[in-house]
């Protein structure tokens, strides 16, 4: 970790986490999430503030005396030891009764489904198996807190998704309080009980996955989680005005008319129909033209140009496989949305909700 003088990697990141929950800190690289994790683990000292685990302040406690298990970005397994020796390491260091160690190691290797690999060296294990050793090693000594520092970042997608579920299963089984750090929004949504979105060292929003997705606290969260279309304009009584077009929407906080605002629309919450379709149920319906379409397998992403919304690039998901070939590039269409789906935020300043769980 390197800090430029005067720049804070983590600034005012207060939050409380209930025991037994699975929290994910989500943010782009450089957002301060790894720093936060290292401070919790004790590798870094916060310049101010307090960290407490189960109510006990741990700031003065050295890392090796904290009851914190950590799975590292590059796993940091011990290459000169077998899988079992890796898992036994924290027990030996923490002076567990030596007679109980083999059984406990076996139990945890079974937990991560590596029962048959105890005597393998680390380099003899596959990437996924190494992940499992790292998890077993971090959990075997019953830490009060488990920290995951993007351990899945290097895996291919299929293995990553498998391990996400595995993390979740193990966490539920052991009820260990877990803080996971990632820049992968899908991982955050899949595994977590709660999510903190961080940016620039500041907590942007702290909420359960569904709330993060459905009620983003600001434009950054809306942009970082899910695929959104952004509209820039000014506040109006009905929502916002882009150029000469009125757009129905909900303001996060009541705003004076004419305030510069930015609106966010989820790609799956925009309806699409052929020219002339009235799109029943939508509060705003506008004409447009298919600029491009991108086939993503389980869905199709349309990119729409609209003269009514100059400068905006509207992105719409289409999930109906039978309707994949409804429109061709260049076709005239109509699109629309319900007022509740256009989230309107004040421009120019983020409005983090801080560390209070919503």
């Amino acid at each position: 970790m390197e800090f430029s003088p005067g720049v804070r990697a983590v600034d005012n990141a207060s939050f409380d986490l209930q025991a037994g929950r699975f929290l994910t800190v989500l943010g782009p690289s450089g957002s301060g999430k790894t720093t936060l994790l290292h401070m919790i683990a004790g590798f870094l000292k916060p310049s101010g503030g307090e960290i407490a685990i189960n109510g006990r302040p741990v700031d003065a406690v050295a890392p090796h005396r904290r009851s914190v298990g950590m799975v590292f970005q590059k796993l940091a397994l011990f290459p000169h030891m077998t899988a079992a020796e890796n898992v036994a390491f924290p027990l030996k260091m923490r002076r567990w009764d030596p007679r109980g160690i083999p059984a406990r190691v076996a139990e945890f290797l079974d937990l991560v489904r590596l029962g048959g690999y105890r005597d393998r060296r680390i380099h003899e294990l596959s990437g996924g198996q190494q992940q499992r050793v790292a998890i077993a090693r971090a959990l075997v000594f019953e830490p009060e807190l488990l920290l995951l520092d993007e351990p899945l970042a290097a895996l291919d997608r299929k293995l990553r998704e498998e391990m996400q579920l595995e993390f979740r299963r193990i966490q539920k089984e052991l009820h260990v309080t877990t803080i996971n750090v990632t820049h992968d929004q899908r991982e955050a949504l899949v595994v977590s009980d709660e999510i903190i979105v961080m940016e620039g060292g500041v907590i942007q929003q702290y909420a359960p996955p569904l709330a993060i997705y459905r009620q983003p606290a600001n434009a950054f969260v809306a942009g970082f989680v899910g695929v959104s279309t952004f509209l820039d304009g000014v506040a109006s009584p009905a929502g916002m005005r882009v150029g000469g077009t009125d757009c129905a929407g909900r303001q996060a906080l009541p705003l004076a008319e004419g305030t510069p605002v930015r609106g966010a629309l989820r790609a799956e919450q925009i309806s699409l129909g052929p020219a002339g379709d009235m799109l029943a149920g939508c509060d705003t319906v506008l004409p447009g033209r298919i600029a491009d379409m991108i086939f993503e397998g389980e869905r199709l992403l349309y990119i729409i140009d609209s003269d009514a919304l100059p400068g905006a690039e509207i992105r719409i998901y289409h999930h109906d496989p039978t309707g994949f070939d409804l429109f061709e590039a260049g076709a005239a269409i109509r699109f629309g949305w319900q007022a509740q789906d256009l989230k309107i935020f004040k421009t120019g300043r983020k409005e983090p909700t801080g560390g209070v769980l919503q």
């Binding site: 590798f43 090796h64 298990g69 390491f89 924290p90 260091m93 000594f141």
Partner: protein, 318 residues
């Protein structure tokens, strides 16, 4: 001008490309494609030749060791004999010198690694580029000075009227002999070997991710346990490699025993020198030299047997 595409405008290649093409064609004539399998051998041929010349020299030395010196003519006697080896084995002096060389090399390895490890660790782990550069500079400076000048420096520093004794004199300690003893020789060797050891250890330590040590800490190991259970075992290839290099250099050293030993702390190389250049007995000198070669080979062989040739990152798995 015409827009008609035609064969006239052939693409112009830069001159450099043409030169390279010509060279390649030339090389193709000199070294046909069919021989490309052998290119590797061609490239190591000079090195092999050098080794061959060394082996030839060793062979001549081996032959020389089988003739005793005829002191009436100061020529090697005609007859083949193992007499020179018997002289070496029967001589209490030479056994003493061999033992001194071995124990000196062993102690040098131990102390050098003890000093080099923290130094290399600091060098690798320090977050400050300035500190790293300073450590490197301090390390390399003695390299440029050379062994003999350094040994001479110790004569000045540790002499009876040297800096150390002057300092001791200030606190009322009478001057004492710090030079010309076995510990002084080992001291000089350690100081001489330190840069080698640090430079051999540094890459091995660089290969140990900082994260692994942090991980060990978070798993409950204090710094000493991290060092013992994680850092040292993972640095083993570097430690063995550095130890081996230091051991062979110390075992065969000439200058430190000659200059800091006060004449009574000879190593094998000094005994070889004496036979070649002082008593002109090249046969006995050759026999001693071969004993030295044998000792070194046994040492290296034993280390390879114990730790595997992979220790020096040669082929073996880590």
């Amino acid at each position: 001008m015409t827009d008609m595409p035609g064969p006239v405008s052939r693409l112009r290649y830069p001159l450099g490309w043409r030169v390279m093409d010509a060279l390649e064609r030339g090389a193709g004539i000199l070294w046909p494609r069919a021989l490309h399998r052998l290119t590797g051998w061609l490239l190591i041929a000079p090195a092999l030749l050098l080794v061959a010349v060394l082996c030839l020299g060793l062979w001549r030395i081996a032959q020389g060791s089988l003739h005793v010196l005829d002191r009436a003519t100061f020529l090697p006697a005609e007859a083949y004999t193992l007499e020179n080896y018997r002289t070496v084995l029967d001589s209490a002096t030479y056994l003493k010198i061999v033992w001194r060389s071995l124990s000196g090399a062993f102690l040098t390895v131990v102390f050098t690694l003890l000093l080099a490890f923290p130094y290399a660790y600091m060098l690798v782990r320090t977050p400050s580029p300035f500190v790293r550069k300073a450590l490197l500079a301090v390390l390399f400076l003695p390299f440029f000075i050379g062994q003999v000048v350094r040994a001479y420096g110790w004569l000045i520093i540790l002499g009876n009227s040297g800096v150390v004794n002057d300092a001791l004199g200030l606190v009322g300690v009478t001057p004492m002999r710090l030079l010309f003893s076995f510990p002084t020789v080992v001291f000089g060797l350690v100081q001489y070997m330190l840069p080698f050891a640090v430079l051999l250890l540094a890459p091995a330590l660089t290969a140990i991710p900082r994260e692994t040590e942090i991980a060990a800490g978070s798993l409950g190991a204090n710094w000493l346990q991290v060092l013992w259970h994680v850092t040292l075992p993972m640095a083993r290839p570097g430690l063995v490699g550095a130890g081996l290099v230091v051991a062979t250099l110390a075992l065969t050293d000439f200058a430190m025993p000659a200059m800091l030993g006060g004449g009574s702390q000879d190593f094998i190389a000094n005994a070889v020198y004496d036979q070649f250049f002082r008593t002109a007995d090249q046969g006995l000198g050759s026999a001693l030299a071969l004993v030295l070669v044998a000792l070194g080979s046994v040492l290296v062989g034993a280390v390879f047997a114990a730790f595997g040739a992979g220790t020096l990152a040669m082929g073996g798995k880590r």
